[in-house]
């Protein structure tokens, strides 16, 4: 019960964090800033909320730890007897309230921007299936299924795992850079959720209903995500890969793929 317990505690915590630090061989530990203006806003909001929590924690637990060190029986501290103060209660009810209002303002602004799907350049309809995705460029007449490409052997440990293990698909969703793309999201069988962290888009896909989301990506590149709503056995095996390209390359992509335009037979065959 003595001071050396606190030393134990401190050393345990530092060992733990050292272990975590050592383990962190370049593995990501934070939300990506992403590649849209919205994703950057979301990241900023996340960091504001995080640091706010850290500072509140430092202040509150600082007081608590001071009390734990100073006001202990082993140091001969005699207990005070106070047990209420309306003033103090009023202060620590009002203060958090004001902090919350300060936090709510940027959150509201970002949310309003996220929900504005108007004035888009392109619409992609996304349909979740057990366990693959279907993409349809509505006005361009191009559609295709997108399925996990990682070989079974890698999953079962019979072959070395590739760099994009579980995050690779046979046909990527190709989008033009700097264009506002509207996603119409629905599902064929059970609920799914379409999520690409770098785009800060996560929306549930619900059978019988369409949901809207949008992204305007400002950097070309390949961005990976996963289904984020439990959808059965292979929920963990239906990744999303978005490749963002220049407009010219995008046009070429559409031209190359119009032959994929679904006809009934093919549609039914894949859906089975």
């Amino acid at each position: 019960m003595s001071g050396n317990n606190w030393l134990k505690w401190l050393s345990a915590v530092s060992v733990m964090f050292a272990a975590m630090g050592a383990a962190n061989a370049g593995q990501p530990i934070n939300m990506p800033v992403g590649v849209t203006d919205i994703s950057a806003d979301v990241f900023d909001l996340h960091m504001i909320a995080f640091w706010l929590c850290v500072w509140i924690a430092v202040a509150v637990f600082g007081v608590m730890f001071y009390s734990i060190f100073a006001h202990r029986k082993s140091k001969g501290h005699t207990p005070a007897t106070f047990h209420e103060s309306t003033t103090v209660e009023a202060i620590w009810t009002t203060m958090p309230f004001l902090i919350l209002i300060a936090l709510a303002i940027p959150a509201t602004t970002t949310l309003v921007a996220m929900e504005d799907t108007s004035d888009y350049d392109l619409t992609v309809k996304i349909t979740g299936y057990q366990w693959l995705w279907h993409y349809e460029y509505i006005d361009e007449g191009v559609d295709f299924y997108s399925v996990l490409k990682t070989p079974r052997d890698q999953i079962n440990g019979l072959a070395p795992k590739g760099d994009n293990y579980l995050l690779e698909v046979d046909k990527e969703l190709v989008l033009p850079v700097d264009k506002k793309v509207r996603f119409l999201i629905t599902a064929n069988d059970v609920n799914h959720a379409w999520w690409v962290p770098d785009l800060a888009v996560k929306k549930d896909a619900i059978p019988g209903f369409i949901n809207e989301a949008w992204a305007k990506v400002h950097t070309t590149g390949t961005y990976r995500g996963q289904c984020a709503e439990l959808c059965g056995r292979d929920h963990g095996f239906m990744p999303i890969v978005v490749r963002v390209v220049e407009q010219a390359e995008f046009d070429q992509f559409l031209a190359d793929n119009t032959t994929l335009l679904n006809d009934g037979a093919e549609y039914a065959a894949v859906a089975e």
Partner: protein, 200 residues
């Protein structure tokens, strides 16, 4: 030691009654959910739709694009497409268009279409005066039919909404006894050509 007039038994009986009521409240949440949807514009019920339609004025100065979309649920084997993929419409005027559905199987089937609209705010401003989604849709084996849809956009649709997407999902309800109101027996008696013409 019990100061109050109420015995534990009567307290327990009252609380049991409350919990039975709360079980009922679970079911009351179903109609409340419709109210919630109407209030927030999440979905919009047909009844409320009809009320709205009575006060619509035509606005020929404005054009709104209505997009038509369709999905098949689960193993629904029909092939359905809108006759036109989008229409430019004036608020307050009734427009009619079709969806074309083909039953690609070897047996007669009954389908049900479920509408869904985006953006949410358009839910209360898109009024369907006639819709194939109001009824079960029977199609004979291998036949293609046209299904009619008449609608108008309320002039109160907020100005910043330029595109409204109307999406239908088709469910196969042939084997679903409680949803298939036509019944399999009636289905067999259907004269396919006549019923198709009726929809046009």
């Amino acid at each position: 030691m019990d100061k109050s007039a109420k015995s534990p038994k009567s307290v327990a009986a009252k609380l049991a009654l409350v919990s039975v009521c709360m079980f009922g409240f679970g079911y009351v949440l179903v109609p409340l959910y419709d109210v919630f949807c109407d209030l927030t514009g999440l979905r919009f019920t047909q009844e409320s739709n009809e009320l709205v339609s009575q006060e619509i004025q035509e606005d020929t100065t404005r054009l709104v694009t209505v997009e038509f979309d369709v999905s098949m649920n689960e193993s629904m084997p029909w092939k359905v497409r809108p006759a036109v993929s989008k229409l430019q419409v004036h608020p307050g005027r009734v427009y009619t268009t079709n969806y074309i559905a083909k039953n690609t199987t070897q047996s007669a089937m009954v389908g049900q279409a479920v509408p869904s609209i985006t953006p949410y705010v358009a839910n209360r401003h898109l009024v369907k005066t006639e819709c194939f989604c109001f009824e079960n849709q029977p199609i004979e084996a291998g036949k293609e039919v046209e299904m009619a849809l008449s609608f108008m956009i309320n002039h109160k649709l907020p100005k910043d909404v330029k595109v409204v997407t109307l999406s239908y999902t088709f469910f196969d309800i042939t084997q679903n006894k409680s949803l298939n109101k036509l019944g399999s027996a009636d289905l067999n008696k259907l004269d396919s050509t006549e019923s198709v013409i009726a929809f046009n």
